[in-house]
């Protein structure tokens, strides 16, 4: 059996043949920078964390005998006498999804070597992320102060509503906060010109993490606010 040792040709093969060539080659399996592959594997592990959180959520919720609060009532805003269900969440989700868009643009400009636009777009992404966390703080405050929901109790029914809500959105909020810090650090390094020689793969790696956090939010949103 001859072993493919020249990587330059193996990636040109499409489909199954290329897959086999990649996995049977020497040196490296994926044509990716080390950091990017590591981020993908980390995200796979993190996916398991959130999946288990949400599976736990489903299990706990389905086994409740107490009344489960109606999300469109709990998460409604009263603005100028108008009752607007899910308004805040819609704004939060919009902010986060938009930030994914600006992040994607930042990656594009980074690979094009446009440092200034990359930094501006990453900063916008970080600001949108921070505003998401800010709105989450507002939502938590409203739930705790006005509605009297606590991690251990809930005046509207099942105590587990509060427990699960604070735990899972809190865990996601920590991810977003970490992402904002991560984005800020990388944006500053890009501005300083640290990656002019090494290449801008790091911007894409940061972006992978950020898109993942957004994607997780879509699931949390569906499970908590739409179910």
């Amino acid at each position: 059996m001859t072993i493919q040792t020249d990587k330059s040709t193996s990636y040109t093969k499409p489909g199954i043949e290329g897959l086999v060539a990649d996995w049977s080659s020497d040196r490296q399996t994926f044509d990716l920078p080390w950091g990017k592959l590591m981020m993908w594997i980390f995200l796979l592990s993190d996916t398991f964390i959130f999946s288990i959180f949400l599976t736990g959520y489903m299990n706990v919720r389905l086994s409740q005998t107490d009344n489960w609060p109606n999300p469109s009532e709990v998460f409604a805003l009263e603005i100028a006498g108008q009752h607007l269900p899910l308004l805040l969440i819609a704004i939060m989700t919009f902010a986060l999804i938009t930030s994914s868009g600006t992040m994607a643009m930042a990656v594009n400009f980074a690979y094009a070597g446009n440092k200034r636009k990359t930094v501006i777009l990453m900063t916008i992404t970080a600001i949108l992320g921070a505003s998401f966390v800010g709105m989450q703080v507002f939502e938590w405050t409203k739930l705790i102060v006005e509605e009297g929901v606590r991690p251990w109790s809930n005046p509207m029914g099942a105590a587990q509503f509060g427990s699960l809500f604070f735990m899972i959105t809190g865990f996601h909020g920590l991810h977003v906060t970490a992402g904002v810090i991560y984005l800020s650090i990388i944006a500053r390094k890009v501005a300083r010109g640290d990656y002019e020689k090494k290449g801008y793969a790091i911007v894409e790696i940061t972006g992978l993490y950020w898109h993942f956090v957004d994607l997780v939010w879509v699931f949390i949103f569906a499970f908590f606010y739409l179910w």
């Binding site: 059996m1 490296q28 080390w34 590591m38 587990q160 735990m167």
Partner: protein, 585 residues
């Protein structure tokens, strides 16, 4: 090759200069491995001492005042948790994974050395937090290593106040440490192999560690989540795992939680954990057997696929730990079936080890003795696993000493046998010195025979229905008095085996100073870690030039070759090519 940073640019490796950067805050995978190893063996000795205390109580009830029912449960819990997580997982992956992966695949280091260093310091922190629980009010938790709620966090269980919190915090820190290390191991195996090193030319050790690490990255999340949820139950008074219940005559504030949910989450981690420990052991024992039998491993490809298959199957068998917890009978059927299916790839591996020995040129060195011992203990423990995997047989045997005997044979003693084999096998590489052969053999016979003296009688105790985790049997009618004499005999054996480990410790330290220089490749092994220019390998492993690999790791006794082994970095000769390609290349 824009992605291969370290491999092609040795000038990027900054040689550590000061003592601190060289031996303390070291980013060299070999130093990190030794740091992991020493820490793991140290906590392992703590856990060994705890097991001796447990055995003293069981063998000679009430002979020692300082062992009361609470402290007995604390010993059980800490012994189990330390052995499974802080010794076996850390030593196999953090220790041997770190040391062997870069050397065996021909890399200069792990791909992210700084993160690798952080991994060790987080691990050390988790160990410190865990050991700190011995010194807090109430002592460490006594909930059993499975930490089942609701009892784990309620009064009546020792350490329900501080101990359990420290235990959960320590586990979370350990998971962070493991994740940082694990990402490194997986990425290094996938992306940083040397020229000619394909996945199917990697030694089985790397395959075992690689697959186990993937399992860890996917299984530890379940433990993380359950630790967080239980921590909230304990500290904030949520009721994820806590049903409405009455404790000490008062009804508690908890209501509506599900203890069985915890069991599912825990065992979704807990069963892959068995294979996180077993797969690296499978891999290492394969390499030790092939080297010391001077024969290629039988069925290399099958061995690889068996490792991968076991890894995949290990995620769909978890509920066989919960047959008595209550389950839809169809689920019991499902999990019994998957459990028995996993015996197929496992049996393939055992047959292949035996067939590797068959007509081999067996050198009964110390590593070889431990490897052969492993085949015995593992087969033995695996067979009792078939009993327990069946629902109807498991129900009466559940929570008896049969279970204790089973898992100590299969995932206690067996990986430990491989660890000893591995330590003796790679000791000359790590230290550059040879260990004392005679002391090693004495250590083996005490350990191997002692193992059977301890665990064989436990199977009988299990059949008698002696329950595990009990401080004392009291006046239990169905247990004959002779069970007590059996327990005393087990205790004496356990103490002897425990003490005989001192021979090993002495051997390691004595040989470090006074051992004969090992020289280059003392076992005449083929895999790359023995082909480094310096023994022990220096920082950067390979000198100016990375090795090039031309063959698999098992060219022992090749017909027509000059010596009875051909290292992986020796080019294929013309005579070999004309002789035709052997199978499995």
């Amino acid at each position: 090759m824009q992605n291969v940073a370290i491999a092609d640019q040795p000038d990027e490796l900054h040689d550590p200069q000061t003592f601190i950067t060289k031996y303390v805050y070291s980013q060299d995978h070999k130093v990190i491995a030794i740091q992991y190893g020493i820490t793991a063996i140290f906590v392992g000795l703590v856990a060994l001492a705890l097991s001796a205390l447990m055995r003293l109580q069981l063998g000679f009830p009430d002979a020692f005042d300082f062992i009361d029912p609470s402290s007995y449960l604390q010993f059980v819990t800490m012994h189990g948790m330390i052995m499974v997580i802080y010794l076996l997982t850390a030593l196999l992956l953090g220790g041997f994974g770190n040391y062997l992966i870069p050397l065996m695949v021909g890399a200069r280091d792990m791909v992210f050395p700084f993160m690798n260093m952080l991994s060790f310091w987080f691990y050390l922190l988790s160990v410190i937090v865990l050991l700190a629980s011995f010194f807090v009010p109430g002592g460490p938790t006594g909930a059993g290593w499975t930490l089942y709620p609701p009892q784990a966090i309620l009064p009546g269980t020792p350490g329900y106040d501080w101990g359990i919190i420290l235990m959960l915090v320590s586990l979370v820190i350990f998971i962070i440490a493991f994740t940082m290390g694990g990402l490194n191991y997986v990425t290094t195996v996938l992306q940083a192999r040397t020229h000619g090193m394909t996945l199917m030319r990697m030694p089985l050790t790397v395959w075992g560690i690689f697959t186990a690490t993937v399992l860890g990255l996917l299984a530890f999340p379940a433990l993380l989540v359950s630790a967080i949820m239980m921590m909230l139950d304990k500290t904030l008074g949520t009721s994820f795992f806590m049903p409405a219940l009455v404790s000490l005559g008062e009804s508690l504030d908890y209501s509506g939680g599900s203890p069985v949910l915890f069991q599912h989450l825990f065992w979704f981690f807990g069963h892959p954990e068995v294979y996180i420990v077993a797969l690296p052991a499978f891999g290492m024992v394969s390499d030790v057997l092939a080297t010391h039998a001077r024969k290629n491993i039988f069925g290399y490809r099958m061995m690889v696929w068996a490792i991968v298959a076991i890894g995949g199957l290990s995620f769909v068998v978890w509920a066989h730990h919960m047959y008595v917890s209550g389950m839809l009978p169809a689920f019991g059927f499902f999990f019994a079936t998957t459990t028995l299916i996993i015996a197929v790839p496992t049996a393939i591996k055992v047959y292949n080890w035996v067939l590797t020995l068959y007509r081999g040129n067996i050198h009964l060195t110390v590593p070889m003795l431990f490897s052969i011992g492993f085949i015995f203990t593992f087969t033995h423990g695996g067979l009792t696993g078939l009993f327990l995997g069946n629902v109807v047989i498991d129900l009466p045997l559940s929570d008896t000493y049969f279970v204790v005997a089973h898992f100590h044979m299969v995932m206690g003693v067996s990986p430990i046998m491989v660890l000893f084999a591995a330590i003796y096998h790679w000791y000359p590489l790590i230290t550059g010195k040879m260990f004392d052969e005679k002391l090693g053999k004495i250590h083996f016979w005490f350990t191997f025979l002692g193992t059977y003296a301890i665990y064989l009688p436990m199977h009988y105790l299990g059949f008698l229905g002696v329950p595990r985790r009990y401080f004392a049997m009291g006046s239990t009618d169905f247990i004959p008095e002779s069970a007590q004499s059996l327990n005393a005999s087990i205790t004496v054996s356990a103490l002897i085996v425990g003490l005989s480990q001192l021979i090993f410790i002495y051997n390691v330290f004595w040989s470090l100073r006074a051992g004969k220089p090992a020289g280059h490749n003392p076992w005449e092994a083929t895999s790359l870690e023995w082909q480094t220019p310096d023994v022990p390998p220096h920082h950067g492993n390979w000198g100016p030039q990375l090795p090039t690999v031309y063959r698999w790791a098992y060219d022992y006794g090749v017909p027509g070759a000059e010596k009875d082994f051909i290292p992986q970095n020796h080019p294929v000769t013309e005579s070999e090519q004309t002789a035709g390609e052997p199978e499995g290349r």
